[in-house]
Amino acid sequence: MKKSLPMFREPEASGGCGGGSCDSDGHEDHDEGRRDFLRMAAGAAAVGVAATATGCGGEKPDYEELLQKHYRVMTDDEKKRVFARLEAKTKALTGVTVHISDPQPLEGVHYAYALNLSHCNGNRRCVEACARENNLPNDPEMRYIRVIELDNGSQHLEKGTVHYAPEKVPQKGKFYLPVQCHQCDNPPCVRACPTKATWKEPDGIVVVDYNWCIGCRYCQAACPYHARRFNWVAPSIEPDRVNPNQGYLSNRIRPVGVVEKCTFCLHRTRNGRYPACYEVCPTGARKFGNLADPQSEVRKIVENKRVWILKEELGTEPRFFYFYG
């Protein structure tokens, strides 16, 4: 378990495991190779395959990538070529063979999340499972889910902390508020984007075309839930942490200089599976499903429990509900 969530590390900071951003699983921090993907591949030489990838001239400007069209105007053939290119790139970067798929939204499905705050005990398994599932880097550490520890009796967020690190959770007198992308029905981030690089899919998921985003970070300023993350460095991920089951609009390895976010694991959920955070939660606090289906668990919760949403006054209409039950 991570003890703290520093989102950002000084570039001058030395390698190794300072600053709480080290992976407690015991991975070494390849300091030199951190930002240069070719040397990164060489640095992870324990994986022999990687070494062969270093010679392939990845330093040449990639015109195909530079001129790539917006996801929504690409033909299926063009998409196929792009996916193949990205798979090869990931192979060169990590030495891992990955498959990039593009599951489409399902008819009549509108995803929603409900979170039972009575059950959540702040164990943060969801944070880590999400990181693993979505290929989130450890250096600098990036996490989609933030769990805020608050004192009972107040929801004053400034008084809470995400840097709690007790021996055991839950702590007496505290409660825990996990926050991730709320997949708003009226998303301010989508409105903000100057290039239409982020949009809301028919099933309610707000996605980003990482190859179209210009990295202006206006969406980050616009998001009232601090749900968006920027890639401050070139991707670096330990080969054994790579999840090879990747979606173009979700968990594929993101390039430097673009914004990304939680997608309710659409590469899983559109194939009938639950999001990683749901599956790992040991307390049963997380409920996920199709809001359009009257029989679904989330629908029943939204209809029968006294649910609430964060910052309702902003009119963002989140599809992420909280309740006590």
Binding site: R35, E158, A192, C193, P194, I214
Partner: protein, 414 residues
């Protein structure tokens, strides 16, 4: 066509030739430009991790400068409006220099954005037709449109007028006057859109206030004349162009109005934030007093306020503003004060605390400052060269061979 090429070549030559002081000045600027350029290359190579920005404070000193220089660009209207609406002849002689300032300031703004985005290689995505411009939803898209328009207008108007003067021809009113009037409205637009860009965000209560657009305009009206007084004093000192005292009096007149209104608007905001005392005032507390032990900004904002108040007093009291040294000091204080108040004092606290109540402070690091200084130096470099050419053409030094200066510029005192 051939004429035009020769014209450009001669303008180039004019910019290259100069006195010793000119060379020293330009060379100094060039050093800063190169340093800034190297820093940008560093950003691109390593990623924006080399800055002090983070997911918490995702915009930093670059955007702060952007916001300030939008004001400078819009401030050109301070010259354009009296020159064309009130037919002030003394100002009309200088209006081209004001429009040049707009060109340079807008270019700097665009550079501040270009160097701040994560993927400058993808900026073509903003081109309608081959990319997508998110109109009408995204205020940033609107900013792209109004900036491009303002830049083109301010390139065209002085460009056209200077070429006419170079050839000794009388400019056709229809070829530029419509753009002049459009540019007056446009000056307000670029600043309003930029204010809306921030004030339209419900996620940031500190910016989410209707006072932002008027505050932007008024502070532009305060900082632009102060900057222009300093600029024209330098121009008067180093070139043959005469700047009449009446022009400086006019700037002081604008300052006497704009500075107190600016303070008044700041006061309105301060009242609302602190009297209401809701949790939405956290950013204002952070800015003025610090929040939960984080107090990077208060020293800056109080300094800025002191500067602005001192300058206002100097501008308002005749006995004080008539002392040139004090008057120039007040102009300097205004420029620095408004820059601090409107740049870092507005952009940084918007991100602190973040929407989930976490407090991560931001202060730019050396690299970010070098990059900004580089862009400012580039602006100064361009402006110096452009002003030199403009003045040479206006004073008749640079004109087409064989052409007579139709209405010789009022001969400057040799």
């Amino acid at each position: 066509m051939k004429q035009l090429i020769i014209y450009f070549l001669r303008m180039g030559l004019c910019a290259i030739k100069g006195s010793r002081t000119y060379y020293v000045w330009m060379a100094t600027l060039l050093i800063f430009i190169v340093m800034g350029g190297l820093e940008w290359a560093h950003d691109i190579r390593e990623g924006l991790v080399v800055t002090n920005m983070s997911d918490h404070v995702s915009w930093g000193i670059g955007i702060a400068n952007f916001v300030y220089f939008v004001g400078v660009a819009a401030g050109a209207a301070v010259l354009v409006v009296p020159a064309y609406l009130f037919h002030r002849e003394d100002i009309k002689e200088l209006v081209l220099l004001g429009e040049m300032l707009a060109v340079v300031a807008v270019s700097m703004c665009l550079l501040f954005i270009m160097t701040d985005v994560g993927r400058p290689d993808r900026l073509w995505h903003l081109t309608p037709g081959i990319g997508f411009l998110n109109i009408p939803s995204s205020l940033l898209s609107w900013d792209v449109i109004v900036f491009t328009g303002y830049l083109l207008m301010n390139l065209w108007i002085p460009g056209y007028l200077l070429f006419a003067r170079y050839r000794g021809k009388k400019p056709t009113a229809m070829a530029y006057l419509p753009f002049v009037f459009l540019s007056m409205i446009w000056a307000v637009t670029i600043h309003t859109v930029t204010a809306f860009l921030l004030s339209g965000l419900g996620s940031r209560p500190f910016w989410n206030t209707p006072i932002l657009a008027p505050r932007f305009l008024i502070s532009a009206g305060a900082s632009a004349p102060a900057l222009l007084i300093l600029l024209f004093t330098v121009i008067k000192r180093f070139t043959k162009l005469d700047v009449k005292q009446s022009v400086f009096d006019y700037f002081l007149y604008v300052l006497k109005i704009a500075m107190p209104i600016n303070l008044f608007l700041v006061g309105c905001e301060v009242f609302q934030e602190f009297y209401t005392g809701s949790l939405h005032s956290a950013s204002a507390y952070y800015l003025y007093f610090g929040l939960h032990g984080h107090s990077m900004l208060p020293k800056f904002i109080w300094t800025a306020l002191t500067f602005n108040i001192t300058a206002t007093i100097i501008f308002l009291v005749p006995q004080l503003r008539r002392i040139p040294k004090l008057m120039y000091t007040a102009c300097g204080l205004t420029v620095v004060g408004i820059w601090t108040e409107k740049g870092m004092g507005l952009v940084f606290p918007g991100f602190v605390p973040n929407p989930l109540g976490e407090i991560e402070e931001y202060a730019p690091n050396a690299g970010e400052i070098i990059l900004c200084v580089g862009i400012v130096a580039l602006g100064a470099f361009l402006y110096t060269a452009m002003a030199k050419i403009t003045i040479a053409i206006q004073t008749g030094e640079l004109r087409m061979k064989g052409s007579e200066p139709e209405a010789p510029a009022p001969e400057p005192a040799e």
